[in-house]
Amino acid sequence: MRVKDGILKYGFVGPALIFLIAFNIFPLFYNIYLSFTDAELSGGATQLIGGRNYGVIFDDTRYSTALRTTGLFVVLAVAVELLLGFALALALQKPFWGKPIITTILLVPMMLSPAVMGLYWNFILNGHYGVVNQALSVFGLFQPQWLTDPDLKLFSILMIDIWMWTPFMMLIALAGLNAIPNHLYEAAAIDRASRWTIFRRITLPLCSPLLFLAVLLRTTDALKQFDLVMAVTGPNDRATQTLSALLYQVMFRGYKIGLGSSYSIVILLIVIALASIFIRYIASIQAKQGRESA
């Protein structure tokens, strides 16, 4: 295979790499340039204005609010999804009648379009005719205004996100659980270890590398939260404005792309930091797999 592969190999990898550089590296650097200008979406003359955009960020309470909203959203969404997903995976761990079909059906929500399902959830959560509130009224319970109460809007978006992404955690947790060798459980049974001890000393530690991977993937994804916010409240709602929603508001409703670019640099830095943790982690897992199979 090593013969005459000089040009051929670049023929294989080249097109994809050119594509990725054009659509990722170029925008990244162009973004940095734009962040030092007063560029507007409508075009027209653009001037370099130095670091003035960055000065504005720290006076803009929208930005700090959006940071806090995004942070809160990411932490709550990932934590609840992890706990629920892990609980489901534990319940689905051992084979039983109907397990494959139940597992598959549970996985469907994560493959659906967040923008479309977010719109549809407006219907379910509507304060007047929504089925959730009607069900609550049957039981004589309090009926919250899920979509209009400023204290509840973010919670509603969180709920939809949990509905969509708990299956993701479940899927990865199940893979972790399936990979635990049975002889460990057998040895624990011989030692008369309690269920709690087995869980704490075998299940959890052996599952945690994959759970960590799942948390990293979900975190980078939740940080970008945009689709559900747009569907439920639109981009300019104080109570739910995530960083991506703020970017959209500033750049596509306010036409200030220079300013928007400087806002995006911070979100990019966070995402790049998380992505590099993820990548190092993957590299270490792959190195381990390599050693095991060698």
Binding site: R2, V13, L17, G43, L92, P100, M111, S113
Partner: protein, 287 residues
């Protein structure tokens, strides 16, 4: 303890699937029945049912109305569905073709800095669409690409390449090198070896990769919203645009449209169920 698992599974299963069942029921209702303050649960063939009854008269009207443009919209739902199909299929095709070639290159040849390149490819997946979309839009303006199908196809190809390369590399790595070596001994050129040996053996991998690329292009919203306002509007952008409609949101039609839009995805999910884990972790975890 044997039955304790059901204490977790049954309530969750019930709550998680309820919205999807409600979707089906809503699509069979009239607008009045859908936004009635007493929800009806049972579809019935009877014509006149008193308000407040648990059953409602089922109708396929909502599906029929999808063929005519909604108030204030230039086209009917199916027009936007066609946009989604064209953009989804063509971007999937190009990502799988480019991704397979690239994965093969990294799998079989010695390439300088291969690890760094691969991780660079993976990292592109993490960029938030809204943080990179403005430069893409500026670039597109130069080439007259905003508002075109081609613009979204190229963008989704780039967006999905990371997934395609990583998934395909996993699949190609699993094909024994001995197969190609035997072919080379038989006088095949390296490219023929790729074409006649690797491609047939990675058919499953390509199918799985295609499904995941198609789903992420199909569901994408941020880029599609920012780059389009007229010509190549996809279904997610179309639906989102119905928010705040003056005549009230036509929920049965939306439910019918959502159903038509998500059923293919649900079917694909079930078809690739054994490869889901690979797909969502970029091939880094194999079952």
């Amino acid at each position: 303890m044997k039955y304790s698992r059901w204490l977790v599974i049954i309530p969750y299963f019930f709550l998680a699937t309820l919205p999807l069942c409600w979707l089906l029921l809503t699509s069979l209702k009239t607008q009045e029945a859908a936004i009635s303050s007493t929800a009806s649960l049972i579809p019935s063939t009877a014509e006149n049912i008193a308000p407040g009854d648990l059953s409602f008269s089922a109708t396929l009207d909502a599906y029929r109305k999808l063929a005519t443009p909604h108030t204030g919209k230039a086209h009917a739902f199916f027009h936007y569905l066609l946009n989604s199909v064209i953009i989804g299929l063509l971007s999937t095709l190009t990502s799988v073709v480019l991704g397979t070639g690239c994965a093969y290159g990294f799998s079989r040849f010695r390439i300088a800095g291969a690890r760094d390149w691969l991780f660079f490819i993976l990292s592109t997946r993490f960029l938030p669409p809204l943080a990179v979309v403005v430069p893409v839009l500026m670039m597109y303006r130069v080439f007259n690409l905003p508002n075109t199908h081609l613009g979204l196809i190229l963008l989704y190809t780039a967006f999905n390449l990371s997934l395609a390369v990583w998934l395909m590399k996993g699949f190609i790595d699993e094909i024994p090198r001995a197969y190609e070596e035997a072919a080379l001994v038989d006088g095949y050129s390296p490219f023929q070896a790729f074409y006649k040996i690797i491609l047939p053996h990675s058919a499953t991998g390509m199918a799985v990769t295609a499904v995941f690329c198609l789903i992420s292009a199909w569901n994408e919203y941020g880029f599609a919203l920012a780059l389009n306002n007229a010509e190549a509007v996809t279904v997610p952008v179309y639906f989102a645009g119905l928010q705040g409609n003056i005549q009230g949101i036509p929920w049965p039609q939306i439910a019918a449209g959502v159903l038509i839009f998500v059923v293919p995805i649900a079917v694909f999910t079930i078809l690739v169920r054994n490869h889901l884990l690979r797909g969502v972790t970029f091939g880094t975890i194999k079952q």
